[in-house]
């Protein structure tokens, strides 16, 4: 029987999300249609918008439904950059981090390579926390020339929580818009868009128990990132295309439940994670808890097992029925060294020896014990495995 401890990659579909989807699929009507059936599906969509807005502390008009995290990050980064640079050609610096998800790193680099953006990166401490002093000095150096700051709320690999209000406060001196990829944060740590001072924030449905393929970009009313998709002008003219009310409905149900359960789950999963980490350190004393000392999300445990390779560990654990991960695999399925760990200052060898264990709604102590049993069996084998 396999045990799933990879909830940060995607997590179990919530019953409420499944029911909401199923109920919505019984409707017929384009939410843009003016007739009664169109109005009915429109209502489903707008109720969903209300729920998601409430779940993340935003105004309902700020929720732009889309296909998920990658789209949201691309839209925010490219859209805000284009908007800013159109108004002031000199305003073309993007401040970001080397530990972001590829859905941020890649559009940022693409703008650098193709659209004349200048990309600068903040520094991190070895435990993965953003060095706010380095951000402060970048901002005071480049001032109004900074088009955008994009820094994630919770790191998807290490679980490190960034102090987003502190980031936006630094940015506010020069009215610099700040975007945050909150995909790994929403539903797992308290999020309040209004209080955060953010201009835009990316959410994804399947990380909170909705199906894959739905998410939202939260865009402050004051902002108008240029659209990636032009057409019928849906979603505040920011994201054209027939509005996907069934998935929006499902996402809203999942988001609402995740946030309602947040305090309880943070405490439950936090305790489980502490047990897991303590047991791992006992079983493998040479292991490193990656972001120890940093403020970390309760559902995320991230380790470096020196002397092993991630792909061998994952292979051996998979053979024991344990599903965990090690950063992100590329399109071809190749596990490279974790760019997040490299960005934090770990060596290439250490960054190639990590394992991420992430808990979710269905995780139990039994799952954790099954992982530990497997780990004790496979770790000595992994130490002997020759590298690829």
């Amino acid at each position: 029987m396999s045990v799933f401890l990879d909830h940060a990659s995607t997590t179990s579909l919530r019953s409420c999300a499944k029911n909401a989807l199923s109920d919505a699929l019984d409707f017929l009507g384009n939410p843009s249609s003016v007739h009664s059936q169109g109005r009915a599906t429109r209502e489903l969509l707008e109720e969903s918008r209300d729920k998601v807005a409430k779940a993340c502390g935003a105004n309902r008009s700020e929720i732009i439904f889309n296909s998920g995290g990658t789209e949201g990050n691309n839209h925010a980064i490219k859209g805000i950059f284009w908007d800013r640079v159109t108004k002031d050609p000199d305003c073309k610096i993007i401040i970001s981090s080397r530990t972001e998800h590829h859905a941020v790193i890649d559009p940022v680099q693409w703008l650098g390579e193709n659209q004349n953006a200048e990309v600068v990166y903040v520094e991190h401490s070895l435990n993965g926390m953003i060095d706010l002093d380095s951000l402060r000095s970048l901002v005071s150096k480049h001032k109004q020339r900074v088009a955008l700051i994009s820094l994630m709320w919770v790191n998807n690999e290490t679980g490190v929580i960034s102090d987003i209000p502190a980031v936006t406060e630094i940015a506010s001196e020069f009215d610099i818009p700040v975007h945050s990829d909150a995909v790994a944060a929403f539903g797992h740590v308290p999020i309040d868009f209004r209080a955060s001072g953010l201009t835009a924030m990316t959410l994804s449905g399947h990380k909170v128990g909705a199906p894959i393929g739905v998410g939202a970009l939260v865009v402050a009313r004051s902002a108008k990132p240029i659209s990636l998709v032009h057409g019928g002008g849906q979603e505040r003219s920011l994201r054209s295309g027939t509005m996907n009310y069934p998935l929006a409905s499902s996402f809203a149900a999942a988001a609402k439940e995740a946030v309602t359960e947040l305090d309880h789950e943070m405490a439950r999963l936090g305790a489980l994670k502490d047990q897991l980490e303590a047991a791992v350190m006992e079983a493998v004393p040479s292991a490193i808890i990656t972001a120890q000392g940093a403020n970390r999300a309760a559902y995320n445990a991230h380790f470096v097992f020196p002397g092993t390779q991630s792909d061998a560990m994952l292979f051996l654990l998979d053979q024991k029925g344990v599903c965990v991960s090690a950063g992100s695999a590329c399109q071809a399925g190749v596990l490279g060294p974790s760019h997040v760990l490299l960005g934090m200052g770990f060596s290439h060898l250490e960054a190639s020896a990590c394992v991420r264990v992430t808990l979710g709604k269905t995780s139990t102590l039994q799952d954790v014990q099954q992982f530990l049993t497997a780990l004790e069996q496979v770790h000595p084998v992994a130490l002997q495995a020759t590298p690829a």
Partner: protein, 368 residues
């Protein structure tokens, strides 16, 4: 037996894995990522490590119900195969990268990793057979289907590598049967075109590809007496026996075409001459190995056949080890054999050994 099936995404390795599963082995599929920057889609018959190939391999593994992983050997492949390929051309030789890949990646790095992770054998879709000689020694033999025989590129395997290798396709009479079997098994790759050429040169133009790695360095094209006949923009990429692309305006005195006879990296000269001068009578190499059990008296003449290209004809020869070098005296001539290529020695259908050719000697003068 715990078997690691190397799955390229092609039909041969998929059927090989299927047969290993059917024989009752505990099989796991692994695709080797060999390129640093894999292409998205396969183009034509070339390449074997695009993302599409990886996905094809995964589909096949799923169909067989076996676990599947992608292992990244791109760094080793770059060092051991690609860099070697470039260096060999720079030195005026013509390398065989598939051979190097088998020698250093598939049956070395992959095998070592497999053994260290508890596997007992590597299974591939090569057309060749491993036969036990009745005394416990394993021998590598040609496949039943001569047109597909790949024993040549496996000539680098030693006894211990043979002991951990499985080639389930060796006894199959034709490639068509493999395709039919793949279709019957519901494998999506049943009609996938074969791959040819060098996997890391997707466009198939070796000279053009080499130009990215080796600075253009022009030199003279000369005849056997040293008379300049033309110019080239870099000796790298020329190969012995090459006739096309020389761009020599002046015809030879006898009006016959001229061929590359020699590449002189130091002086940057390409020596050309008549076809007769390509005739080779002897091959010598310091880098040789025995495939399986070594001959008891390798210093004594071994009557054998030799093959110098993956799909080339064999000629009868006499091989012996002299002063640490393998010497192969050909009983009938071969034409245009470049240094750097591999000569595989056969006795009947058995692969006895191989050497990388350091020197191919001709009895004919370059200016003949």
């Amino acid at each position: 037996m715990r078997v690691l099936a190397a799955m390229s995404g092609g039909v041969d390795s998929a059927v090989a894995a299927a047969r290993a599963v059917e024989e009752g082995h505990d099989v796991i599929g692994v695709h080797l990522a060999l390129s640093r920057m894999p292409g998205t889609l396969r183009t034509g018959s070339r390449g074997c490590c695009t993302i599409e190939d990886s996905m094809d391999a995964q589909r096949a593994a799923n169909k067989l119900g076996i676990p599947f992983y992608v292992w990244d050997f791109s760094e080793r492949f770059k060092l051991d195969v690609v860099d070697d390929f470039v260096a060999e051309y720079q030195a005026g030789r013509t390398p065989n990268p598939c051979m190097r890949c088998n020698e250093r990646i598939k049956f070395a790095a992959l095998l070592e990793r497999g053994l260290s992770l508890g596997f007992e054998a590597i299974c591939t879709g090569h057309y060749a057979s491993i036969i036990e000689d009745g005394q416990g020694n394993l021998e590598l033999h040609r496949s039943l289907e001569m047109a597909k025989d790949q024993s040549y590129v496996l000539g680098v395997l030693n006894a211990s590598q043979l002991a951990h290798s499985m080639f389930p396709l060796g006894a199959t009479a034709s490639k068509d049967l493999i395709r039919q079997e793949a279709a019957a098994r519901g494998l999506s790759v049943a009609n996938k075109p074969d791959s040819y050429d060098i996997c890391f040169i997707p466009e198939g133009d070796t000279r053009q590809w080499l130009k990215e790695f080796v600075p253009t360095d022009s030199g003279k094209i000369v005849d056997g007496e040293g008379n300049q006949l033309g110019e080239h923009d870099g000796h790298v990429g020329f190969t012995i026996g090459q006739r096309k692309g020389l761009k020599i305006g002046t015809p030879a005195a006898d009006g016959k075409p001229r061929y590359v006879l020699e590449i002189r990296p130091k002086t940057k000269e390409i020596v050309v001459g008549p076809e007769e001068a390509l005739e080779i009578s002897d091959l010598v190499g310091a880098r040789y190995t025995w495939c399986g059990k070594a001959p008891e008296n390798p210093e004594e003449a071994i009557h054998c056949e030799v093959q110098v290209r993956a799909h080339g004809d064999t000629v009868s020869a006499v091989a012996a080890i002299v002063d640490g070098h393998m010497h192969v005296q050909l009983n009938e001539p071969l034409y245009g054999v470049p240094a750097g290529q591999t000569a595989v020695i056969y006795v009947g259908t058995r692969v006895l050994g191989q050497m990388t050719i350091d020197e191919a000697r001709s009895k004919v003068s370059t200016s003949a």
